[in-house]
């Protein structure tokens, strides 16, 4: 893998791994389900420490895009580069180990485990997971890390409740805490505010902003107001292809984007 070499060679650019190098880039990403082309030749890149909103009507391919990035689906063609390395076709666990985490559009947690255990098992995936003879509670570092992750999303008071007994909004937040516990470089949030009340949505947005300090975030979000406030740039998907990309203001003015949203 010739990691950063081509980029470093281009004039006026700093050393490899510099912030100017996009953290994530896809080239010609395409996936077909039988006759349906769910992603069509997607060229996409996101810079380090950017918050990028991904929008588009239902069925546009946003979740499918996340599924390709995280290894759940294998693209039919095209490439995914993360930190300069080709990660196309790697299984989800390898991609997670490289630093991409995600939350799910449909809540996906361990319902019969406590809130803390949901986060602890995620934190443990980086360290000590092959230990067979020590009690899991002996690893204070993991527990402290998990408690910190819960604290950062405001769920610490519910640490010992069963995840199944949390409210819908709390479960959505737990999704984010689980993803954070794996200490990712890139966090993909798939409609984190789905089904949340207005107040919960507002809280979640504050949360996303607070965790974004050292993190790159891709977020699928339908509320345009929220998108405008949060994201530096917006990418619009339509029928599996990138329809437009730009600053929130540019996207709001974009003629073809308005057409799509007025039709929908």
């Amino acid at each position: 893998m010739a990691v950063d070499a081509p980029r470093a060679a281009s004039p006026g650019e700093a050393a490899p791994g510099h912030a100017a190098e996009p953290l994530l880039r896809t080239r010609g990403l395409t996936i077909r389900f039988g006759g349906l082309t769910a992603l069509n030749n997607v060229d996409f890149s996101v810079a380090r420490e950017e918050i990028r909103a991904v929008i588009g009507p239902n069925g546009a391919g946003k979740s499918t895009f996340f599924n390709c990035l995280t290894g759940v689906l294998r693209p039919t063609s095209g490439a995914i580069l993360f930190g300069g390395a080709d990660i196309t076709g790697l299984p989800p666990d390898k991609i997670s180990q490289r630093g991409i985490a995600r939350s799910y559009q449909i809540t996906n947690i361990l319902p019969n485990a406590t809130t803390l255990e949901n986060v602890r098992i995620a934190a443990q995936s980086r360290r000590h997971s092959w230990s067979l003879l020590s009690h899991y509670r002996a690893y204070r570092d993991i527990i402290e890390k998990s408690e910190a992750a819960l604290d950062s999303v405001g769920l610490l008071p519910k640490a010992y409740e069963l995840a199944a007994n949390l409210s819908h909004g709390e479960q959505r937040t737990l999704e984010i805490a689980i993803a954070l516990a794996t200490e990712p470089l890139l966090l993909c949030l798939d409609e984190p505010t789905a089904g949340m009340s207005a107040a919960e949505t507002q809280q979640t947005m504050m949360l996303v902003r607070s965790i974004a300090k050292h993190l790159t975030i891709l977020i699928v979000e339908h509320d345009m107001q929220v998108v405008m406030e949060l994201a530096q740039r917006v990418t619009v998907f339509h029928y599996g292809a990138v329809l437009a990309e730009g600053s929130p203001a540019e996207i709001q003015q974009n003629k073809s984007v308005m057409d799509v949203y007025l039709k929908a």
Binding site: T70, V72, K94, I109, Q124, R126, L132, I178
Partner: protein
């Protein structure tokens, strides 16, 4: 665990082990032997709980691991003179581990019923191989051998009287239980339970799920093999019947009856099932399977968490 529960747990454990230790001194020979066998079948059922209860994989092939432990021990006891206990353990565990590694490698790629069927098929293949390799295994007739002495060079050497054998089995089963319990509470054990709860999610947070499953099957297989070695020591024979899939099915029944995901439950299930079978076969002769089946169905319907889960709920009011 709270202080109080911790205390109650260890007192309970000590009392039960003490009762089981005293039993051969007071029980008549038939029931002494019966109790030793319950412990051995209990260990086999416990080993399978690592897969059924903790990882969410139902194995219908535990007879293969049990049988390989048995035949491995047989080979060591027939091949060494005087027969050596430690060699029997070594051969038995190594054979079970090798077979478990083989089965694990292929079967863990499949899930749910496909996993169960694959383990079943593998165990039947081993059954056929053992049945037909007459020169090595004695085929249909199996192998007979004599018991080794319970000896550690320069320290002691005891004859395996029925009582000594019972204590030996009890010690191994109790230690296996403590070890397996620790493993189920280890970081590795927590990963297995996460796989059971949500396999895709476990993979997504960075676990190479297949590797954990392979190790789980091997771990389970080695303890099943240990039960096979103990059975060989107790009965002084190895026979293909014990590799047959019916044995695997009974192991699953012990788990379901006793309560999966508890380690102790499967032992309780084995005791319950074997005692009932003994009683019913006296009263109902060859029709004993009918009342046994009725009771089994009743337990599945009315105590879905098994006897232990039911007792626990009842005790907690």
């Amino acid at each position: 665990m709270s202080r109080r529960r911790f205390f109650v747990y260890w007192v309970g454990f000590a009392v039960i082990v003490a009762l089981l230790a005293v039993a051969p001194l007071v029980l008549p020979e038939f029931w002494r032997r019966f109790l030793t066998e319950i412990l051995i079948w209990g260990l086999l059922a416990m080993s399978s709980d690592i897969l059924i209860g903790y990882t969410g994989m139902v194995s219908f092939g535990h007879s293969a691991f049990f049988g390989l432990g048995m035949y491995g021990a047989a080979a060591a006891l027939l091949g060494s003179s005087p027969p050596n206990l430690w060699l029997a353990l070594l051969y038995g565990l190594a054979s079970a581990a090798a077979v478990a590694a083989f089965v694990a490698y292929f079967s863990t790629r499949l899930r749910d019923i496909y996993f169960a069927i694959t383990t079943l098929i593998f165990s039947q293949i081993f059954y056929v191989v053992i049945f037909t390799s007459t020169a090595w295994t004695g085929g249909e007739n199996g192998l007979n051998f004599s018991r080794p002495r319970f000896a550690i060079p320069y320290l002691f050497s005891l004859r395996f009287t029925p009582a000594v054998l019972h204590w030996f089995v009890l010690a191994i089963v109790a230690l296996s239980y403590l070890l397996l319990r620790r493993i189920t509470h280890s970081p590795f054990g927590m990963v297995l339970q996460s796989i059971r709860e949500n396999e895709a999610r476990t993979r997504a947070i960075g676990y190479a799920v297949e590797r954990y499953k392979i190790v789980a099957v091997m771990l389970s297989g080695v303890f099943a093999g240990l039960a096979g070695v103990l059975y060989a020591l107790q009965n002084q024979f190895a026979a293909p019947d014990f590799v047959f899939f019916v044995v695997s099915g009974e192991v699953v029944i012990y788990n379901v009856v006793g309560g999966i995901g508890t380690l102790v439950g499967p032992v309780v299930g084995a005791a319950f099932f074997l005692l009932l079978r003994e009683a019913f076969s006296r009263f109902f002769t060859e029709f004993y399977l009918i009342p046994l089946g009725v009771i089994f169905i009743a337990i599945v319907i009315f105590m879905p968490r098994g006897l232990l889960g039911f007792a626990r709920r009842w005790l907690n009011g």
